[in-house]
Amino acid sequence: MSLVDWTLDGVLAALLPLIAWGVVTAASLDKAIMLFIVLGFVSALAWARLDAIDVALVEAAVGSGLTGALLLSALPAIQPRLRRPSSLARRAGVGALLAGITIWLGVTTLRLPARSGGLAELVCENIEQSGALHPITAVLLDFRGYDTLIEVAVLLVASLAVRAVQRPRLRPGRRGEPTSEPLASFLNLLVPASIVIAGFLVWEGSHAPGGAFQAGSILAGCGVSLQLTGERPALRMTLRVRAALVLGLAVFVALAGAPLLRGHDLLDYPRPWAGPLVFALELALTVSIAVILVTFFPGAPDRPEPPARAADSP
């Protein structure tokens, strides 16, 4: 570690809490959201410095990109009820509490064991038997595959709940304003590029950083762009869309249940087949994750209702 490395890490580590603080204290919401997106960028750099390349991939895609867009999606609707600061007493109380928590947690963190391999060694020993050569994919889809099974259920439940609260008349896609020339050509480039990148990332996932979540969120980013620009209407709940929504969870549940029928534990893939099965699972998950992430977005930007005055006046 040279001085430059240290400075680089130091600057990154200092920027993160600073920007985070900026997000929660910014005077307006669009500023806060923009800083949040910037925070995502900077954290992706931090993940890269910490050799967490998979996390950096997901952060770049889901963490900042799609989350930022999601937060923005509510902005036009909620904008009028902005800037109601909480009372000074509450802020002071929370501030004092927070200072205490920060110092306490900080001291605790710095006193953690300085060197610990965690489960790294155990993962490396068992990776040959698992369904993937990349340690993180192996943990996600094999060693701790059960976590991921529940996580996919979380995604699906969130998608169903989002559909449930959306007003029916907002569901059919409204085509937005006509797409401008540069935007159209950009989209023409984006769609094929996204598909290629997503396919590449799924393939990489079996032996290198990459995988279903990364690929799915790239595809979703492309889908969301098409939807936001009015190029494509919002997804309707046709049979095909529903099939795509549940495909990942269905394959996962089948893979979890099949070994039970043979008297094994759940998710205990037959070992020679573990690799292909995990790859098939990744493909199914990619499709589902992409579609689910797209359903998180409203069809076209919701405009606040026109003031009720028009209806009230005789």
């Binding site: 570690m1 890490d9 130091g10 580590a13 809490p17 985070a20 997000v23 929660v24 204290t25 919401l29 959201i33 949040f36 925070l39 954290s43 931090a46 410095r49 910490l50 050799d51 996390v55 997901v58 963490g63 999601l70 937060l71 999606s73 509510a74 609707a77 909620i78 009820r81 109601r84 600061p85 909480s86 929370v94 927070l98 928590i101 920060t102 963190t109 710095l110 953690l112 300085a114 060197r115 610990s116 391999g117 965690g118 489960l119 790294a120 993962v123 943990v139 976590d147 979380v154 995604l155 439940v157 969130a158 998608s159 709940a161 989002v162 979540f213 409203p298 919701d302 606040p304 009720a308």
Partner: protein, 106 residues
């Protein structure tokens, strides 16, 4: 002092900022959701930083996998929160004849 400690301390700072956003700053839905997301970011940073303590060259992959799961879960929750916020703003008072007894989270 080592690199992971640097990021570990930063993680705690981020987490606290998130708590402030969720509880203490302006009580607006989007701000709270931002706060919750930042809290999550702090936890994830601590997990990834602590994975870097491994004596070998490869960091511990388990916390990385946990963080990936965590990020996906927080996106799902954020999506649901934003969808409800959008629905609330569209629903306005007009749709519910009685004035709401319980104030929406501001």
């Amino acid at each position: 002092m080592s690199v992971w400690m640097l990021y570990g301390a930063a993680a705690i700072g981020v987490f606290s900022a998130g708590v402030f956003g969720a509880f203490g700053a302006t009580t607006h839905v989007v701000r709270r959701v931002l706060g919750v997301n930042i809290m999550g970011g702090g936890v994830f940073l601590l997990l990834v930083a602590s994975a870097r303590r491994a004596p070998s060259a490869i960091p511990d992959p388990v916390p990385h996998a946990l963080v990936l799961t965590g990020i996906v879960i927080s996106v799902s929750a954020t999506a649901l929160a934003m969808a409800i916020a959008r629905a609330l703003s569209v629903t306005r008072e007009r749709d519910s004849p009685a004035p709401p007894r319980d104030e929406p989270p501001r």
